[in-house]
């Protein structure tokens, strides 16, 4: 630090006006008028009594009012909830207002002065501490025995290793990042409506229409037995894909849904720009199928503008042109939304030609 640092007292020498000192104390009505004092006392006690009443009313409301689904019954909040909230709120507020009224009107209000001390300890204390520290370190021999000191520091640093490694099984078993590259879509797997579970034919989709879809058998199995390991009714590709998952768990469905969800749109074929990235034979009569998972941070993309063929993500407004290979036309996404090659099976239902040819969803380091 250089020497031209301004350090010492500027305060006093600079004063424009000498400090006139503390303002004289003024008395409150409650200090000098006994009637005002009594009145304040009654006010405070009255507030406390009002709080008691409210607490009792809370208990009454607790038992008196029905709860349940009629949440919009009264003022959109449910009778029980409103009654409980109001009574509890007032019971608490009356105590708070009462105590503060007491403090303001009846408790002495003379301003007092306390002197400050530097935040630091007195110099002699500091010196004593330093010499104690020095003596202690000297006696420990930490400075001299470098071998002991360094190995001790080393051993403690290495202790971080067990701490980190112990968290390894946050993901039990080997981590296979390549699962991000594939979904349950398989050649020949039908595309079904994601609310009804019904397989879709090209004629079910009109020009300009968008259908939210998913692979057949993932969520809506044709038969029962979803929970008990009986997957015989499911389409073969799904069964094969999930062979390793012994039980048909809720979260496995969700994990697959998070990658396999798609949208189908039908666009006038002449409006579509076919390219190497989006060849004509991936579409069926102008029906194209794209991943529903945004390439930005993974929200499901849901807003469709039929005139411009733009698909907008409701989370961060990335916009993709589905008539042009899912190209990004606006927003923070960096990559086109992946397309699922589509065709029609012998029975006339829309099916996948294959899985997606690139990972769906947000980018990650190893994506390449």
């Amino acid at each position: 630090m250089s020497t031209d640092t301004p350090t010492t007292d500027l305060a006093l020498s600079e004063e424009t006006i000498p400090d006139p000192g503390l303002h004289e104390h003024t008395w409150r009505p409650t200090d000098i008028d006994e009637r005002a004092e009594r009145r304040a006392e009654r006010q405070v006690a009255g507030l406390f009594i009002a709080s008691m009443v409210m607490s009792v009313l809370f208990v009454v409301s607790y038992f008196a009012f029905e709860i349940g689904e009629n949440i919009d019954l009264f003022l959109g909040g449910g009778t029980s909830n409103i009654a409980l909230g109001t009574t509890l709120g007032l019971a608490l507020l009356f105590i708070g207002i009462g105590v503060i009224q007491w403090a303001r009107k009846l408790v002495a209000d003379v301003e007092m002065v306390e002197m400050r001390h530097p935040a630091s300890s007195p110099d002699e204390d500091r010196e004593e501490t330093l010499s104690a520290l020095k003596a202690g370190l000297e006696e420990s021999g930490l400075g001299r025995r470098k071998l002991v000191r360094n190995t001790m520091i080393g051993s403690m640093a290495i202790l971080g290793l067990p701490a980190v490694v112990a968290l390894r099984d946050l993901h039990p078993g080997p981590i296979d990042i390549s699962v991000l590259e594939r979904t349950v879509w398989q050649p020949g797997l039908r595309v079904v409506n994601d609310t009804s579970g019904i397989p879709l034919r090209p004629e079910d989709i009109e020009i300009g229409q968008l259908v939210n879809a998913e692979p057949e058998g993932l969520v809506h199995p044709p038969g029962e037995g979803r929970h008990h390991g009986d997957h015989s009714d499911r389409p073969a590709p799904i069964r094969e894909y999930l062979e390793e998952a012994e039980d048909w768990e809720h979260h496995i469905v969700l994990n697959e849904m998070a990658k396999a969800a798609v949208i189908l749109v039908r666009i006038e074929p002449k409006d579509i720009t076919f390219s190497e990235k989006s060849p004509e034979n991936w579409s069926v009569d102008g029906i194209v199928c794209y991943s529903k998972i945004c390439t930005h941070v993974g929200c499901p993309i849901a807003l469709w503008e039929r005139k411009s063929h733009h698909l907008l993500c409701p989370c961060h407004q990335s916009t993709f042109d589905l008539a042009d290979a899912g190209r990004v036309v606006f927003g923070p996404a960096a990559r086109a939304v992946p397309q699922l090659p589509l065709s029609v099976d012998e029975e006339g239902y829309l099916v996948a030609q294959s899985d997606f040819l690139e990972p769906v969803g947000p980018s990650y380091w190893e994506r390449g």
């Binding site: 709120g89 105590i95 503060i100 994990n255 409701p314 960096a334």
Partner: protein, 563 residues
């Protein structure tokens, strides 16, 4: 000693009955019992009647403290029924529209708390409102501390603790609203997963460890629950304790005024005034939260439905304190690089992990920058009015502007619908505005502060405007000015003039450290060369004389009955 309850009287005669120690009072007895065992009287004697200064802005941190306590109380209630599990159940509770649906236990038990536990909805809503109040009051408290220079020595460490508390509070809030596993909170987690995955090198593995597999899997809710009810609140509590201990050790800052100096603290004693006021205030915050929980719906998870990764609600918006993060994510351009077979998602990584944390770091580093530039190593206990630190105030407003713009950008879709604007245009506008508006805000605020300083100077020297218009014999009109009271004038001038470091003389031999000295001198001129110096004593006395003269002349002139 005149105190009649003194117990050390000694019998001075053997005649009659021996003298006995007087019976101590009940309070005295309890204190003696406790002190014999705990030995706290030494600490308590200084602190029971500790003086705290009074000002409404000193209450903001108190709101944060009390709302955190309310979160703890209501949170314990919620833990009694909430089941942090993602196992699938079929909902059979009271809410008709979701009955029979498959959902996670977490979502099902949240519905139970809302519809089948009496007072459960109230506690859930109070918990959520108190959490919002907690974070909001921390923000405002931080702005207050920054704007008044309360972070200066010796309070720098407490400033950092406060910043850490804000960060932890936001994480705690995010963990909390992710727990119900409804469609909205699941979408929030989906975005968090995208953010984590965008971390270079480690991101993908971090995501797999976080979720115990692929997103969403069945582990994240119990893990967030552990963080939300144990880890984060534990850290927050410990930091609050440290924050309060330092507050007591430093004694509170105070506004300058008559009798208030750097060496003293003027105000009211903890016992009884502040114990009553602060204790009463706890009940007021608690009461207001209960009223809000009772009559204002918040986070109606039953309307969103259970989480499904293929669904989303249009216009989905996170809790307000995540709004800035959401906004910067929305307006950042879609930049991505591909290097040696690896993907770097600048479009997610930079807004999520660099910009906002960077803003916090710069904000927290400001006190150290200021100290380095001024070289001021003294303790400061008198607050500064924002106008008297124009550069600092300008910087604060610039940062608030930037944060506010990010926040607005987080609602660009809502704004587009509300004002019938083109969404893309709003986004383009925001991309430019985040660069231009903070600079404008800085310049305007700084100029504004300087003119307010001039206004103060004028009031001190030329008095305040009385509203009395006088007409001179020549027919001219003038408003009469009257001098400020000495106390008011003292308060307005109780500040230090800013000092500008002199640049080192251009010596031919560059001494060690000259470079940094030069930077310091430049910064010093830029930051502190703009303030209006306060009037000197001579200027003040001269102006007073003039003012009194004028006033007397005015009295002689005007014989209107109104005076």
């Amino acid at each position: 000693m005149s105190n009649p309850s003194v117990t050390s009287q000694v019998a001075d005669t053997n005649a009659g009955t021996a003298s006995k120690p007087a019976k101590p009072s009940k309070v005295g007895g309890a204190v003696t019992w406790a002190d014999d065992r705990l030995g706290l009287a030494t600490a308590a004697k200084k602190n029971l009647r500790k003086i705290f200064p009074d000002h409404w802005t000193f209450m903001l941190g108190e709101i944060a403290l009390w709302s955190f306590v309310i979160c703890l109380i209501t949170g314990v209630f919620l833990t009694l029924w909430f089941k942090p599990s993602m196992a699938e159940i079929t909902y059979m509770g009271s809410y008709d529209q979701l009955r029979g649906l498959a959902m996670s236990e977490a979502y099902g038990s949240t519905l139970d708390i809302s519809f089948d536990i009496r007072g459960g909805l109230l506690m859930r809503q109070m918990h959520h409102w108190a959490a919002m109040l907690f974070i909001a009051s921390m923000f405002v408290h931080m702005i207050r501390v920054f704007a008044t220079g309360a972070f200066r020595k010796p309070r720098e460490v407490n400033w950092l603790i406060g910043g850490l508390l804000l960060l932890l509070g936001i994480l705690e809030g995010f963990a909390g609203y992710s727990l119900p596993d409804d469609l909205l909170s699941g979408t929030g987690l989906r975005i968090a997963d995208g953010l984590v995955k965008a971390t270079p090198v480690l991101g993908t593995y971090m995501s797999f460890f976080m979720f115990g597999g692929e997103f969403p899997n069945n582990e994240i809710v119990p893990r967030l629950y552990a963080a939300h009810i144990l880890l984060l609140p534990g850290l927050i509590l410990a930091l609050i304790a440290a924050h309060m201990l330092l507050l007591v050790h430093h004694k509170h800052t105070q506004w300058p005024g008559p009798g208030r100096t750097e060496e003293n603290v003027v105000g009211y004693p903890l016992l009884p005034v502040y114990m009553a006021k602060a204790g009463g205030f706890f009940f007021i915050v608690f009461g207001i939260t209960a009223l809000m929980g009772g009559i204002m719906t918040i986070n109606p998870v039953w309307k969103y439905g259970p989480y499904n990764p293929s669904q989303v609600t249009a216009g989905s918006q996170p809790d307000w304190y995540m709004g800035a993060a959401e906004g910067v994510l929305r307006i950042f351009p879609g930049w991505e690089s591909y290097l040696f077979g690896h993907t770097i998602s600048w479009n997610v990584f930079v807004p999520g992990m660099v910009i906002l944390p960077g803003m916090l770091v710069v904000f927290l580093a400001w006190p150290f920058l200021e100290q380095w530039v001024t070289g001021d190593k003294r303790e400061h206990h008198l607050l500064q009015r924002p106008r008297n630190a124009p550069t600092r105030t300008g910087f604060l407003v610039a940062m608030m502007t930037l944060f506010g713009l990010f926040w607005i950008a987080g609602a660009n879709d809502v704004i587009a619908v509300l004002f019938q604007l083109n969404l893309n245009h709003i986004t383009y506008f925001m991309r430019a505005a985040v660069f231009v508006a903070p600079v404008l805000a800085f310049i305007i605020t700084r100029r504004w502060c300087i003119s307010l300083q001039r206004h103060d100077e004028e009031k001190v020297l030329h008095g305040y405007e009385t509203g009395i218009i006088t007409r001179s014999p020549e027919g001219g009109y003038a408003e009469r000015h009257a001098p400020l009271s000495t106390e008011r004038a003292y308060t307005l001038t109780a500040r230090e003039n800013d000092k500008v470091l002199e640049a080192p003389n251009g010596s031919d031999v560059p001494a060690k450290g000259t470079r940094s000295t030069k930077i310091r001198a430049k910064l010093s001129k830029a930051m502190f060369g703009v303030s209006v110096p306060k009037p000197t004593r001579e200027e003040y006395l001269e102006a007073q004389e003039h003012l009194h003269h004028e006033l007397e002349a005015g009295h002689e002139d005007s014989h209107s009955p109104g005076h």
